[in-house]
């Protein structure tokens, strides 16, 4: 045990005590009367947005701007990784699996697509949404890359296409947001701007939310697969 270790352990212990003291001091009294915001969301959320998944309603409508921000974070992460990857090397060209693997993967891919897009389009009705769906879509590319490898000649093109798709998703998000401004309301306006909200619980409802979900899904899928591609390149 060096001094540094003892010291750091002591500090951590103190920090833990501080945290617990803080937790124990939570003000239980105003716990309930204060939470009018969440009450409002629970009571009025479905009426306001016609999205029965309240998390999606908050994520894409009430706090859509946050979502734009977090999508930007992924976008930047993908950008950094593709920026820092070396251009010249290419890898994972070919893997030897048993035919069973190839067959199974080929079989499973369409279902994955369906699952991914289901998650995206039913984001406002059930658990899921653009992020989850996007991740599922990204896994398709991951699977395909692992099993079938990347063709050296096409690699650059594929990456560029994915980047374009990613940019498109991001720009699409902003443009859907702008629609609210076009119709005379504020950025990211949905129900207020008079978009067709439909009936709660139906697939085509909730105004722009599904579209935002779609854009996010495209973007997340593209970003994550870019990240994967670049990491794979780098590891070899």
């Amino acid at each position: 045990m060096t001094f540094k270790k003892v010291y750091s352990l002591g500090l951590i212990f103190l920090l833990g005590i501080l945290l617990v003291v803080t937790f124990m001091n939570f003000n239980q009294n105003n716990f309930n009367n204060n939470y009018d915001l969440s009450e409002y969301y629970i009571n009025q959320g479905v009426q306001d947005t016609k999205s029965i998944n309240l998390v999606t309603a908050i994520l894409f409508d009430y706090r859509g701007f946050d979502t734009l921000g977090e999508a930007t974070v992924i976008f930047i992460a993908a950008l950094i990784i593709s920026l820092l990857t070396k251009r010249s090397t290419s890898s994972l060209v070919y893997n030897n699996f048993s035919p069973l693997v190839y067959q199974n993967i080929s079989f499973i891919v369409p279902f994955l697509y369906i699952f991914g897009f289901y998650l995206i389009f039913y984001g406002h009705l059930s658990p899921g949404g653009g992020f989850a769906g996007g991740v599922v879509i990204a896994t398709i590319f991951v699977l395909l890359t692992i099993t079938f490898g990347v063709r050296r000649t096409r690699e650059e093109d594929v990456l560029r296409a994915k980047s374009l798709l990613e940019n498109l998703g991001m720009a699409g998000f902003v443009i859907i947001g702008l629609l609210g401004m076009v119709s005379g309301y504020n950025f990211l306006a949905n129900g207020q701007a008079g978009f067709y909200l439909g009936e709660a619980g139906k697939l085509i409802s909730a105004g722009t939310i599904p579209w935002l979900n779609l854009m996010t899904g495209i973007k997340v899928g593209a970003s994550l697969s870019i990240i994967f591609n670049c990491l794979v390149r780098e590891v070899e």
Partner: protein, 522 residues
């Protein structure tokens, strides 16, 4: 209605942009016309400018600052004529900037602009001193700037204290934060103990630059002493210490410009005595001494400059000798200057020293000045004898004659020394005149004026071996360098802690968090 300093500041920019052939004429015209404008300025406060939450007074004319401003402008004319063919574009620009800021500082009427001009002076003089060809000036100018900034910061601190206590910015004698003002002024006018920057810098710059530097920086210090500190008896003792120690240090030098630099310090001591004894005559004596000192000290710097110019860089008394044959005009000037500074009657030093003596009653101060006067005479006898009249062991070669500009410039100053020595009232009128009670040329005073020089001559004869210029160690103990080293050591220790280990850094963050949170809880 404009602050004369601002004319110079604007001129410096124009000088930088103007064509080679027009530059010197423009410089001269600016100087002369500023002198004329200065005469026309009526007394009072003008040019008030609201700034932040106070008023800046950019022009305040009183008898005293007009007097000093007049001397400054006159000297600048002489200095420009002196170096008219030597100045480069950069020199012209910086010189005018420097003179302009020191002129402006004389005429401003509030602390804020006072401080700004003070800093402008420091910055421009730094670049004047900084000489790209001479490696040693890199160190000395660094030293100069840091030291002067310490003074300036001290001044700023004083101003801040003064302003927050008093609530006005008007430039007056200060009451709050006095020690800081004293420190600031002490560094500017090279009190003994804070003087280390002066000999270093003045002896290393090109000679035509040191002519200019010798006149302004310390004199601005004296002016601010007069303006800010007022008359305090204990400062007079500090002044006499400066005068005596300065002259003793000067005596041990062999390089002429170093010797002259120490003499500046010593002469400043006189002025401080005059300004702080508190009598009207003393104050006038101090101010007149300031003017005289600019004239003859500038003249001396010009003379040694001419010597350096004609011998291509020789200024060590050990090597110099029998220059009177080779540089006859210069010899005439050096005699005038030496006689003036020694206080021989009919030259200007006599007048101001006499006024100073008249103004002081304290025996310590009087005796101190007497000793300093002997030292002064001795050291100038030394320059005269060893530099110009004694034949050198190795014949010194003069490679080029001093230019006409140099001779004219020196002539102007020498003439001024003579005129003031003979008709002091001409200059004293600007200050409001001195009552006729002092008869400068009575026999008693003539005798008093001659005494120190005679004693010095005797001393020179008696202690010839001791006075003779001889090689000596020139690395005096310097406290400030030690301070700098300590500062550096501390920094390097601090730097070692940043050893690049990420976990250590995170530990610091965590420590800060726990400490902060813990103290907030408790």
């Amino acid at each position: 209605m404009i602050n004369p300093g601002i004319i110079y500041l604007i001129a410096s920019i124009i000088l930088y942009m103007s064509k080679e052939e027009w530059r010197k004429y423009f410089a001269l015209i600016t100087a002369v016309s500023t002198g004329i404008i200065l005469f026309a300025l009526p007394q009072g406060q003008y040019l008030q400018l609201p700034f932040l939450d106070f008023e800046m007074i950019l022009l305040e004319v009183t008898a005293v600052n007009r007097f000093i401003g007049f001397i400054f402008v006159f000297f600048s004319i002489a200095a420009v004529i002196y170096g008219i063919n030597l100045f480069s574009r950069k020199d012209y620009c910086l010189t005018y900037f420097y003179i302009g800021s020191s002129l402006a500082i004389i005429f401003v009427g509030d602390f804020f602009s006072f401080y700004i001009c003070w800093e402008l002076m420091t910055i421009s003089s730094y670049f004047l001193i900084f000489n790209n060809q001479k490696p040693v000036t890199r160190e000395t100018s660094y030293y100069y700037f840091v030291m002067h900034l310490v003074g300036a910061i001290s001044l700023l601190w004083g101003i801040l204290l003064h302003y927050s206590a008093v609530g006005t910015m008007a430039l007056t004698t200060v009451k709050v934060g006095l020690p800081f003002f004293i420190l600031a002024v002490a560094i500017k006018l090279a009190f003994i103990g804070f003087h280390t920057w002066l000999p270093k810098t003045y002896a290393e710059t090109p000679f035509y630059i040191s002519v200019i530097l010798s006149a302004y920086t310390t004199k601005v210090g004296v002016y601010s002493f007069y303006k800010l500190l007022g008359s305090r008896q204990y400062l007079a003792y500090a002044g006499i210490v400066t005068a005596v120690i300065g002259v003793l240090l000067a005596l041990s030098q062999t390089k002429v410009r170093k010797l002259l630099s120490y003499h500046i310090i010593s002469q400043i001591g006189y002025m401080i005595v005059g300004l702080s004894v508190g009598t009207a005559i003393g104050k006038k004596g101090g101010l007149l001494h300031l003017a005289n000192n600019i004239l003859y000290k500038g003249l001396l710097f010009m003379i040694i400059g001419a010597v350096i110019y004609s011998t291509k860089g020789e200024e060590d008394l050990i090597n110099l000798g029998s220059l009177f044959k080779k540089l006859p005009y210069t010899t005439v000037y050096v005699i005038i200057a030496a006689v003036s500074i020694a206080g021989i009657p009919f030259f200007n030093g006599h007048i101001s020293k006499l006024l100073l003596k008249k103004g002081t009653n304290d025996p310590i101060l009087v005796w101190g000045m007497y000793i300093a006067a002997i030292g002064t005479s001795l050291s100038f006898l030394k320059i005269l004898y060893f530099g110009f009249f004694k034949s050198a062991e190795q014949e010194i070669e003069t490679k080029q004659r001093p230019t006409k500009g140099m001779l004219v410039g020196m002539g102007l100053l020498a003439a001024a020394c003579l005129i003031i020595g003979l008709r002091p009232q001409l200059l004293l009128q600007i200050l409001g005149g001195v009552k006729k009670e002092v008869n400068y040329f009575s026999l008693h005073y003539l005798w008093v004026g001659l005494q120190p020089t005679l004693l010095a001559a005797i001393l020179l004869k008696l202690a010839y071996q001791w006075v003779k210029p001889q090689p000596h160690k020139s690395h005096p103990f310097d406290l400030y360098k030690l301070l700098g080293r300590g500062f550096n050591y501390f920094g390097s220790k601090l730097s070692q802690w940043h050893n690049g280990n990420l976990q250590r850094y995170i530990l610091w963050i965590l420590t800060a968090l726990v400490l902060l949170w813990g103290q907030a809880l408790i």
